[in-house]
Subunit: 197 residues, 2 copies
DNA sequence: TGATGACGCGAGTATTTGCTCGTATTCAAT
DNA sequence: ATTGAATACGAGCAAATACTCGCGTCATCA
């Protein structure tokens, strides 16, 4: 941020810009994400935009941050709730929460996962993965009987990456002949089979 | 292709351009992939370049195609070889082949997987995934005792996506505390556990 | 109420870059 | 050897676009 908006008017404008950034991204795609277009969509002049954002990337970063933050928040919350639980049901609930979190805004997910160069996303996505991975590793370490795999950290890494890939692709591709319920069952089977040998 | 090179000289030039495209991509990154830069790297003028390629994208497409073609070829070949085999060893060999194929050119893989917008890759990667997925589905359908999962096609989809994600991330991130051998064992455990319940 | 500074504007600049076109050079068939 | 086609050149055009600057407006204080 180049400077902090002090008056209510300008704080509103900053919000309008971020929100316009999101909708330009969704409606016009990443390639069309230009400062002028964002400014127009926000009903603001380019000059005003540059009063609060140092460059184009800064706007994009805020949009990306907010998205992954929201996903991470809901997955981690659900996982933390279930961390006392045990067995298939806890796994199912967590997997469901992951799918639900990605289903929440498919249009933006598509941009994040397919149009944006992954490098732009990587650190933010890393935060999500690390957060979930750590929780899972703690769970596994605390319950040796839940897993026959040697290293909790590695086990968590394997599960998080696999499930993330499956959930993302399911949301984006909506494979025919694979209903949501069955997807969840497959993911649960993958997890339980891997853990139990 | 705008026109086919007829003389040996020009065929060589086309090859030089493609090869220069690859190395610009690897050395300078996707953002720096400009026609002028590719031309310079190839020791060729922009005008010459446009005699055989209609636009920038066409050059990029050839580079991308060649890469995934090569990966698909080696994975599919290995999988086809093992399709008569059975049990853990066949799985291990196939998984190993996947990791090996991605390890072959990590620098280019990084560009493909991280710098390029996924959309640019999707169709080519889809070919790889479909090819491997179909083979796996055929194998599973032919050996009901190998899997307790209901649908071979869905089972194959789950496995291909998971393994691809794991192998790619391992090659690119080289997670500490996860040696190649152990990665393979984790992947095998994931597959066998999922199939056998 | 008037003055100070935050705010907002939008035409304009500076740069990048995909691509073309007129010209020069080389090849290969006769 | 000649000639015409194929090839190669590279300066430069046109368009896109990230970003700036100087000026007018409004909010918030004394």
């Amino acid at each position: 941020m180049r400077k902090a908006p002090r008056q209510a008017r300008s704080r509103e404008m900053v919000e309008r810009i971020i929100s316009a950034g999101r909708s330009v991204l969704v409606k016009d795609g990443y390639d069309a994400f230009s400062t002028n277009r964002v400014a127009t969509a926000a009903g603001v002049s380019p000059g005003s935009l540059y009063q609060y954002f140092p460059n184009k990337t800064a706007i994009l970063d805020v949009v990306i941050d907010r998205y992954w933050e929201q996903v991470a928040e809901s997955v981690a919350a659900s996982l933390a709730d279930r961390i006392g639980g045990t067995g298939t049901n806890a796994v199912r609930d967590t997997v469901d929460a992951l799918v639900a979190a990605l289903e929440a805004d498919p249009a933006l997910l598509r941009v994040m996962a397919e149009e944006l160069p992954v490098a732009r996303n990587k650190s933010r996505r890393g935060v999500l993965e690390k957060r979930v991975s750590d929780l899972a590793a703690i769970y596994l370490a605390a319950r040796p009987e839940a897993s026959r795999r040697p290293s909790p950290a590695i086990t968590a890494w394997v599960l998080v990456l696999s499930l993330e890939a499956l959930a993302t692709r399911w949301v984006l591709d909506q494979p025919p002949n694979l209903e949501r319920d069955q997807l969840i069952e497959e993911m649960v089977a993958l997890v339980m089979g891997y853990l139990q040998g």
